[in-house]
């Protein structure tokens, strides 16, 4: 187990290192006019050169990269071009928003996906099964921005017009400012994200439940006279959840790295929206910082999934 963890950790670091090179290369191959933008339209070439020098952009690319890497290893991801704020600070401010969004949505989509999956699996080929499959595929097919805009249209705009201003038009209210406003601001984004993701979980739960319910030990449990609901939940669902755990780890890892579209639609200044703003401003340190952080989230999530596997299923040995 320890060896396995060390090797996987090594792989993860290797992956992150390769990504850092790729992202760095990407932005240095492209023509950058960030110094020009900062200096303004009337700037003299001297001013632009001065700004370039101050940002370290006049150094050779490999030198810039090594400086960046050296600092990154020590936990310093550099400073943003516009306000000289540490990138780690920017990530630290955006992260709670993205985490609130991802975790809240996760509760909803797990509940929805697993519940629907169990209903489908215990009544295969029934009307309920087909209906639920159609329901989940319907939302799975939705482009996230469209679903977000529709929710805003009906539940914010229409409702507010009718005199029920239950939902805000967007934005974020930190949990420190009261749990009520925090909840109110996040409910629509949660619902949108959960509806988009639940389909995968319905399908996974259904498929793996169908497999498990055909096992001998389920028949044994039934023949002992255990209530059907108990058989399904305690004996069946528990072992059917392994693929769900895998998918959950992957999805959560990706979401923590930034929920670009939903954050944009609902004006939530999380990691995704921060990254989009940085990309539009060519704010290189912020872009690289967030991309690396997001990749790290995926790498860590994958590692946790492997460990969870071993804990959940004693047959799995990690080498």
């Amino acid at each position: 187990m320890a060896m396995f963890l060390i090797r996987r950790l090594g792989h993860g670091i290797l992956v992150l290192w390769l990504i850092s090179i790729a992202v760095f290369a990407l932005f240095f191959v492209a023509p950058s006019n960030v110094a020009q933008t900062l200096a303004g339209r009337q700037a003299t070439p001297e001013t632009i050169a001065l700004i370039k020098h101050r940002l370290g952009l006049d150094l050779p690319v490999w030198k810039q990269y090594l400086d960046f890497l050296g600092n990154a290893v020590r936990g310093n991801l550099g400073y943003d071009y516009y306000h000289q704020v540490p990138v780690t600070h920017i990530i630290g401010q955006a992260l709670p928003i993205t985490v609130s969004l991802a975790l809240g949505a996760a509760v909803l989509w797990l509940a929805l996906g697993i519940f629907n999956g169990v209903i489908s699996a215990t009544h295969p080929r029934s009307l309920a099964d087909r209906g639920l499959t159609l329901f989940s595929l319907f939302f799975y097919s939705f482009p996230s921005f469209l679903l977000g805009l529709l929710l805003l249209y009906f539940l914010y705009f229409r409702l507010t017009l009718s005199g029920f201003s239950w939902f805000p038009a967007g934005g974020y209210s930190p949990i420190t400012g009261g749990i009520g406003p925090w909840f109110q601001h996040l409910l629509l984004p949660w619902v949108a994200l959960a509806l988009l993701l639940a389909a995968t979980y319905t399908r996974l739960t259904r498929g793996s439940m169908l497999d498990v319910l055909g096992e001998d030990y389920i028949r044994t449990a039934r023949s002992k006279g255990i209530r059907e609901s108990r058989v399904v939940v305690r004996h069946g669902l528990r072992s059917a959840l392994t693929p769900v755990v895998t998918q959950f780890g992957i999805d959560l890892g990706q979401l923590i790295g930034g929920v670009v579209v939903i954050e944009t639609v609902f004006s939530l200044p999380g990691l995704g929206q921060t990254a989009v703003v940085a990309i539009n401003q060519q704010d290189l340190p912020v872009i690289i910082g967030i991309v690396l952080f997001a990749s790290a989230a995926v790498v860590v999530a994958n590692l946790l999934v492997d460990i969870a596997y071993a804990v959940l299923d004693p047959r799995v040995r990690l080498h």
Partner: protein, 308 residues
């Protein structure tokens, strides 16, 4: 004696036991799947709409990028709702939404198909190579797959497009170059077990080289999961393209594409519901049809799907 004659009769009788390939069986199951067939019909309709987009322009008399600022906009300069002249209404510049939806279908389908083909070709070739050749090739490719799968795709896609400037080629390449890893992983996993099978050994003892074994002997055996994955990938690609457009990184205006139209409609959704509704519906119906069809294809290729 009679028994012998009867036996001869039995032997002479043409025994019609047709051998059916798994592919033919899958196709038969798919044809019986009503939902999949209806979805296929919808897909065909959308393809026809894309091909005959100029017909929409000719019948309505409105070219896709023509701005009717006089008859297409209200005196306040707002989009006009559906009426006899503009069947699905106009957008913020007084352009015919119906005609633009028809032209937008071209972009969605074109990107959907081309990017998917690129994805699948890269994924299959690298997956085959990694799984079959093993050794250092496999180690390197497996790391590459890890890297691509760990990259926050949409962020990097946005970054890339913002650096290179939006165009159809960039969109297709970005999607193709970042989506192949999951295909490669599926193919690699299958090949790892297939290469140990007897038929590979047989091929080798007959003198077949690596590339022949990979593409002639092994490839047909991984084609089913690849087909399933491909049909389910097309709607994902279409949504990705629309998402890039929505974020302002689609095709340069005035090209009509669905994501871009929805993005333009954002400021008008309180006053002009048709402006967001119809392009949104077009996009949703397309992805839903592809997903339902892909779901049918998956069930058709999965023999276990028949059991209850």
């Amino acid at each position: 004696m009679t028994a012998a004659i009867e036996m001869v009769d039995v032997i002479d009788e043409p025994q019609v036991i047709e051998g059916r390939s798994p592919f033919a069986l899958a196709l038969r199951r798919l044809r019986k799947d009503k939902v999949a067939m209806i979805s296929l019909a919808v897909i065909v309709l959308i393809v026809l709409m894309a091909i005959f987009a100029p017909v929409f322009a000719a019948v309505t008399g409105h070219p896709p990028n023509e701005q009717y600022r006089d008859i297409g906009l209200t005196p306040d300069g707002l989009p006009r709702g559906p009426n006899g002249t503009f069947w699905l209404g106009t957008d913020d510049l007084g352009r015919d939404i119906l005609v633009r939806i028809a032209y937008g279908a071209r972009i969605s389908l074109l990107v959907g198909v081309i990017a998917t083909v690129i994805t699948v070709v890269i994924g299959v070739v690298l997956g085959l190579a990694a799984g079959f050749l093993g050794g250092i090739t496999d180690t390197l490719l497996a790391r590459l797959i890890d890297v691509v799968l760990s990259v926050p795709f949409l962020l990097v896609a946005i970054a890339l497009v913002s650096v290179t400037g939006p165009s159809l080629t960039v969109t297709v390449l970005v999607i193709g170059c970042f989506s192949w890893a999951s295909v490669a992983r599926i193919v690699r996993g299958q090949v790892l077990s297939l290469r140990e099978r007897e038929f590979v050994e047989a091929a080798r003892s007959l003198g077949a080289g690596d590339s022949r074994i990979m593409f002639v002997d092994i490839l047909p055996n991984v084609i089913a999961p690849v087909i399933v994955y491909t049909t389910l990938l097309i709607p994902v690609v279409i949504v990705t393209q629309a998402t890039l457009s929505f974020l302002g990184l689609g095709l340069p205006p005035p090209t009509a594409d669905w994501g871009g139209m929805i993005s333009e409609s954002q400021n008008y959704y309180t006053t002009a519901w048709w402006f967001i509704l119809f392009p949104g519906l077009a996009l949703l119906i397309t992805t839903l049809a592809f997903n339902l069809f892909g779901d049918g294809v998956r069930d058709a290729f999965d023999p276990r799907a028949d059991r209850t």
